[in-house]
Amino acid sequence: MKKILAMTLVMILAVAALAGCGAKNQGADTGENPPADQVTGTVVTAGSTSVQPLSEELAAAFMDGNSGITVEVQGGGSGQGIKAIQEKIADFGALSREVKDEEKASVTKEIVIAKDGVAVVVNPDSTVENLTIEQIKKIYTGEIKNWKEVGGEDAPIVVVSREEGSGTRGAFTEITKVAGKNDAGEEVDNTTKEALVQGSTGAVMQTVATTPNTIGYVSLGSLSDTVKAVTVEGVAPSAETVLSGEYKISRPFLYVAGGELSKAAQMYIDFVLGAEGQAIVEESGFIPVK
């Protein structure tokens, strides 16, 4: 019985200690007031859902160092990003593509914050060295089913894809036009139903590395020599060819602005393009521009 009593006491003590922790944290939060000379304000970015995770990382890191400024990150899509700066509801529109000609009028400032590249990989035993964007599109929509149609051996192509909703899949299908508008004008992902689906870059690499006749795609940062990266339109994928624009399966991540930047917005963009911001870009698996 004494034992039980002791244990109960210990439990009660533990609960009390935990409650104490909570109270202490609250005190710390409210006790910190920004100094008078600090820049305060709100920076809003809105737009591409592909840029959103990166923006959120950048915003969190920025706010850690600048407690007076709040950075709000909203999604909506690249089109929404342009709209948001036209309507002046956001400081920055986030785009995961180039600014279109008809949008140029409302954009006064265009800042490339990162680049995103996707490498097309095949099994190391494959004899295929080069594919065109058109061929890649046809392979992924199921039109081309045999390697001999693209200059390889007579063997069925095993298509490996990422799961629905994956950012890499989004980038890949968008750039290669595997996804496109249907007759009704809706955005449709036409990836073949005969594709193996793997839930991570690592699983795609492992599958392509060990299974004959496979083709897959991985983000450029995760490429290793367990698989063979094919050249696309004759250009090998690398950070340099993506930055120069020669490698076609890549896209810029842009922040666009419509008017003068507020002081807070300028601080944020300086941070993003600075060493710390670009390090976050690299950590997130994208290609830094500086």
Binding site: T8, G165, K193, V197, T211
Partner: protein, 296 residues
């Protein structure tokens, strides 16, 4: 009753209530998140639709249901005979001190994390199926081509994963059959084989059945291992070497980046999974009652 005993009683009550409330809240949450999609899309379209393509707005989960059921069935077909034979061997044939070592080795299987099973399947089993099973399969279906990511791979891995459950519970219930049953059978002139098949296994059937149900529950709910090795192709399979996508694997894989509607659809998949497991449990309980035993 002394005061501290009362306090402890209350503490225990709180623990019990917490567990029960958690179950209720989780159920409530899943249904609340998933029902809107089911209502909008139509339950019939949702369950019997054959196209699962959330980014295009098609939420037909029939291929996923077929995938889950085929992998589970395959696991049971492999796992039940193996597990039962193993349980009989441990309980009746092997000397006691050897049986102890064997049993703890089998129970060790339950302690291996499922992602390790999955990785083992990915690097060993999948290539093995491609290199050894496919050529045999090709004798009958010359046109067949397969990568090894298949129902078979999932079924074999799941069978290994449910073995500890089936073996340890079945072994216990066979060992718990009263000595007199066995002695009477042997005294009547039955040999060892007949005694095991005709007397011991029927006498232990309720324990064996409950081990199978627990194993089946694990097979249906298993996520990580099957996710890595079944290929996740949301298509109704036509053979055991075809890749399939399972309900659990799809939820786990797509939840991370899902858009709000897609996420609701995944919760709706959760509802279906929930209902399937409930139905199987009720069915199993009923069939056991029909046999005069109970799961406990």
């Amino acid at each position: 009753m002394k005061t501290y005993e009362k306090i402890i009683e209350k503490l225990i009550l709180i623990c019990a209530v917490t567990a029960t409330i958690s179950v209720a809240l989780i159920t409530l949450f899943i249904f609340k998140s998933g029902l809107p999609v089911l209502a909008d899309y139509g339950v019939f379209n949702f369950i019997f639709g054959t196209t699962w393509s959330p980014t295009n707005g098609s939420y037909g989960i029939f291929p996923l249901i077929a995938g889950t059921l085929s992998v589970t069935l395959g696991a049971l077909v492999i796992g039940i005979p193996t597990g039962l034979a193993c349980a009989v061997f441990l309980a009746e044939i092997l000397p006691k001190h050897w049986a102890k070592a064997f049993k703890s080795a089998i129970e060790l299987l339950a302690g291996i994390p499922s992602v390790v099973y999955g990785f083992f399947g990915l690097v060993v089993l999948v290539p093995a199926i491609r290199n050894f099973v496919l050529p045999i399969y090709k004798i009958f279906h010359p046109e067949a081509s397969a990568t090894g990511f298949s129902i078979l791979a999932g079924a074999v891995i799941l069978a290994i994963m449910i073995l500890p459950t089936i073996v340890s519970i079945s072994e216990n219930s066979i060992a718990a059959v009263p000595r007199e049953f066995k002695e009477a059978s042997l005294a009547l002139g039955a040999n060892k084989m007949e005694t095991i098949v005709r007397v011991l296994i029927p006498a232990a059937k309720s324990g064996i059945l409950s081990s199978i149900i627990l194993g089946m529950g694990r097979a249906i709910g298993e996520t990580m291992a099957v996710l890595l090795i079944t290929g996740n192709m949301a298509k109704v399979p036509s053979g055991i070497l075809d890749p399939v996508a399972t309900l659990t694997g799809t939820i786990a894989m797509e939840m991370g980046y899902a858009s709000p509607t897609h996420q609701q659809a995944l919760f709706a998949v959760g509802i279906i999974l929930f209902v399937i497991i409930m139905l199987l449990n009720i069915f199993a309980q009923l069939s056991m009652r029909g046999m005069g035993g109970s799961a406990r």
